[in-house]
């Protein structure tokens, strides 16, 4: 469960990039975080994951404050950043083992988990190669595998579908569904509205640092125009 409580952040004094954000992502829920470029999505994700300091308010991950108990909070999520160009000089297997050491994945689970994830994403045969030789999509897959290795309760993914081929994208969506079904949380940002519509239980739309809508797609349609397409609704909300 992720609770964002009245969170604000200003890079420049007097100009808030995120302004009084309140959100609660419940257990068993897939939550899509939408918004135009520069709306505050990445800033919010960076505050949730502890990359950015929070100016006002607090964020709790399974009840642990990222401000006051950062280490405990960080143990409760797996994060996939927007750029997968990480540790390019390491081999795939070295990267995953490093992540397993960071997140204390037990010895008896490592092999099984690595094989399960990498076979699902069809990169098992590449694990002995350096990540720099991987394509963009393969890099994305290895980073996802690294984040999911410790079976975190909360998944936080920044634009996870970018660069994935249709099968991997489908597999990831299936995994997100299974994860939520088992009572855990998925929070992800995306620009692909169709993905959000089909996958998310609820969405949040942020614009100019403020949350302008939270709810299901049905609620969005009821609140705005019943007949409008998703794209039209999104434009209506963010351009108002």
């Amino acid at each position: 469960m992720i609770e964002i409580k009245n969170v604000s952040k200003a890079y420049v004094k007097g100009k808030k990039s995120v302004d009084g954000l309140n959100l609660e992502i419940k257990n068993g829920e897939i939550f899509g975080f939408l918004g135009p470029n520069g709306a505050g999505k990445t800033t919010t994700i960076r505050m949730i994951t502890g990359i950015l300091n929070i100016d006002e308010g607090d964020i709790l991950i399974d009840g642990k404050s990222i401000k006051k108990e950062p280490l405990e909070a960080k143990k409760n999520f797996g994060f996939v950043p927007d750029s997968p160009d990480m540790f390019l000089k390491l081999k795939g297997i070295e990267y995953l083992m490093f992540m397993a050491d960071v997140y204390d994945v037990p010895q008896n689970k490592r092999k099984e988990k690595i094989e399960e994830l990498t076979k699902k994403f069809e990169i098992y045969n590449q694990l002995n190669n350096q990540i720099q030789s991987y394509s963009h999509g393969m890099r994305q897959k290895i980073v996802i595998c690294g984040a999911l290795l410790s079976e975190p309760k909360n998944w936080i993914l920044d634009e996870p579908m970018t660069g994935l081929d249709p099968k991997s994208s489908y597999d990831l969506k299936e995994m997100m569904r299974e994860h939520a079904k088992s009572g855990k949380t998925v929070f992800f940002s995306t620009h692909i509205l169709e993905v959000a519509e089909k996958l998310c239980d609820r969405v949040g739309i942020i614009n100019k640092g403020k949350l302008v809508f939270v709810g299901t797609f049905e609620e969005m349609k009821q609140k705005f125009k019943e007949e409008a397409s998703l794209e039209e609704l999104f434009l209506e909300i963010t351009e108002k």
């Binding site: 990359i51 083992m97 030789s133």
Partner: protein, 553 residues
């Protein structure tokens, strides 16, 4: 042709603005002019000083024309070395290749613009190293207008052929091989070659004496002249221009410049024909053919084994450096190579005075070696060698945009900082052991002194490691597209030298203040001093661990 000029401008702007950012130079034009002005004046002053001494000596024995030959060869050689390093990056590794290739530009326009960039980069350095000494030659020998006009042609024409030749060689290599693999190998090979040349020059010049009599100098000049005569047969442009610069006849000067111009034009036409055939083959193949080959090698069961986090983390840091040629050469290799090169150079210098290692050792052993002053000299030498280890000062910057990783994993920042400085401490210890080993071989110090020196030097290494990490945290260079931006074109690299200098001044001060003190007491005082500094630096790092990470975004 208009498009070539515009393209050249864009390429230049791109590479120079990147360089400013990498160097940490402010984009404000006033500051920029000031910084470049200071750098220019510094180097120009140095070149004038060195060139004047050499030329003055040569004029005294009426051999000043040798100076012209030396400068022309130097420009030629410099153009070769520079192009070896720059061509691969300018031709193949600039990010703009991906954006330029789809544009409706003719191949010759792109090649011409790229070649212009290489030449302009060349001229920037040659202006300093070529023009200034040649102008000085003109003034001191009272040369006329013909000389100065010929000189301008010489400086412009000489670098062109080496740049074209090396570029073609690089294009041939690249058209046959895969880019990513060869870039690493090529750069590693080039850097090792430079090291090898330094050692070879040191050894080969070890026979030279410092205080030469006129006769000996004349003899050496005959040899240098002979060398120039021998080599210039293979490089006609240098031959012609040497003739043009040293003749008194306007007619001969014009003929020689035209001969050079003719050869350069023919060379350029050949270059364009070959380059148009092979450049794009290598470039396109490499840009879009980088997919990973499938490897069915079974994963060794041992690879699944648990490891302590510190081992895993430090291992990751070492792998990142060892597998990256630029980081390998700038961060790891200097720890081993610098003490060895320095010793070879110093030994070669001593050897030139007719002293063999045995004699040096015997001479030193006759002096009292177990003294505080000798200990300070050894510590100073160690500090000098370890100034060139850039592991800690680049610990954060090496990770680039990926550095945010340290902020979202559940490992305390201070712990991660410690893991990041361990490689610096280890490589410091390697340098200390090599240096102490050599000192022990020559001086036969008591083992307790060696241990005491090892401890004090290790504390200095610890201080350097922590202090440099703090600097990198305060001024990280995270937005880079080439490792050179971190490991070479980075103003932060001045700081290990500054700290090293301060430490050396402290050591010299201690040697001067306590010159008659017992060696162990003296080392204890220095040790305590460095421990206090290390504790303060460490406390600062611990207390400010979160604030210091603020710039990692």
């Amino acid at each position: 042709m208009d498009k070539v000029v515009k393209l050249t401008k864009i390429f230049l702007k791109n590479s120079f603005s990147n360089m400013d950012e990498r160097m940490g130079i402010s984009t404000k034009s006033k500051n920029k002019i000031l910084i470049y002005g200071i750098l220019f004046l510094y180097f120009a002053g140095l070149i004038i000083f060195l060139g004047y001494n050499l030329l003055d000596g040569l004029i005294a024995i009426h051999q000043e024309t040798v100076f012209v030959g030396m400068i022309l060869f130097m420009i030629f050689g410099l153009a070769i070395v520079q192009t070896i390093f720059s061509s691969i990056n300018i031709l193949y590794f600039t990010k703009d290749n991906e954006y330029i290739l789809p544009l409706p530009l003719k191949p010759y326009q792109i090649i011409l613009a790229r070649t212009n960039v290489m030449l302009i980069a060349e001229y920037a350095i040659i202006f300093l190293l070529g023009f200034i000494p040649l102008i000085m030659y003109g003034i001191l020998t009272g040369a006329g207008m013909v000389y100065y006009i010929t000189m301008v042609f010489a400086v412009i024409l000489i670098p062109i052929l080496p740049v074209l030749l090396i570029s073609i060689i690089v294009m041939v290599i690249m058209s046959f091989a895969k880019l990513t693999k060869n870039r690493n190998r090529f750069q590693l090979f080039a850097t090792l070659l430079v090291f090898a040349v330094i050692i070879a020059i040191s050894i080969s010049t070890s026979g030279m004496k410092q205080d030469l009599t006129n006769e000996e100098m004349a003899q050496m000049l005959v040899q240098a002249n002979g060398m120039i005569e021998l080599v210039k047969g293979y490089i006609p442009t240098v031959d012609y221009l040497m003739e043009a610069l040293t003749t008194n006849s306007l007619f001969i000067a014009i003929i020689e410049v035209f001969k050079t111009l003719g050869i350069t034009i023919v060379g350029f036409i050949l270059y364009m024909i070959i380059a148009q055939k092979i450049y794009f083959k290598g470039l396109v193949g490499n840009l879009f053919g980088g997919g990973a080959s499938s490897s069915n090698k079974k994963i060794n069961q041992r690879k699944y084994k648990n490891s302590k986090l510190y081992k895993s983390y430090v291992g990751k840091e070492f792998k990142n450096m060892a597998r990256n040629p630029v980081f390998l050469m700038q961060c790891l290799i200097p720890a081993i190579l610098i003490p060895i090169i320095m010793v070879v150079v110093v030994y070669a210098g001593l050897n030139s005075d007719g002293m063999g290692l045995e004699q040096i050792t015997q001479m030193l052993q006759q002096m009292p070696t177990n003294t505080f002053i000798i200990a300070c000299v050894i510590l100073g030498v160690i500090q000098f060698f370890t100034m060139f280890i850039y592991i800690s000062i680049t610990a954060i910057s090496r990770d680039g945009e990926n550095a945010v990783f340290i902020k979202y994993i559940p490992v305390p920042l201070y712990k991660q900082y410690m893991y990041k400085i361990i490689p610096n401490i280890i490589m410091n210890i390697v340098t200390i052991i090599i240096t102490l080993g050599m000192a022990q071989y020559i001086l036969h110090l008591p083992i307790v002194t060696v241990i005491a020196l090892f401890i004090v030097a290790t504390i200095m290494g610890l201080l350097q490691s922590i202090a440099m990490l703090i600097i990198d945290l305060k001024r990280p260079k995270l937005n880079w597209d080439s490792e050179y931006a971190v490991a070479k074109q980075n103003l932060n690299l001045i700081f290990p030298m500054l700290l090293g200098m301060v430490n050396i001044v402290i050591i010299i001060g201690a040697a001067w203040l306590f010159k008659d003190i017992h060696v162990y007491l003296g080392l204890a005082i220095l040790g305590i001093l460095f421990i206090v500094a290390t504790v303060i630096a460490n406390k600062y790092l611990y207390d400010k661990q979160y604030v210091l990470a603020d710039k990692i975004l």
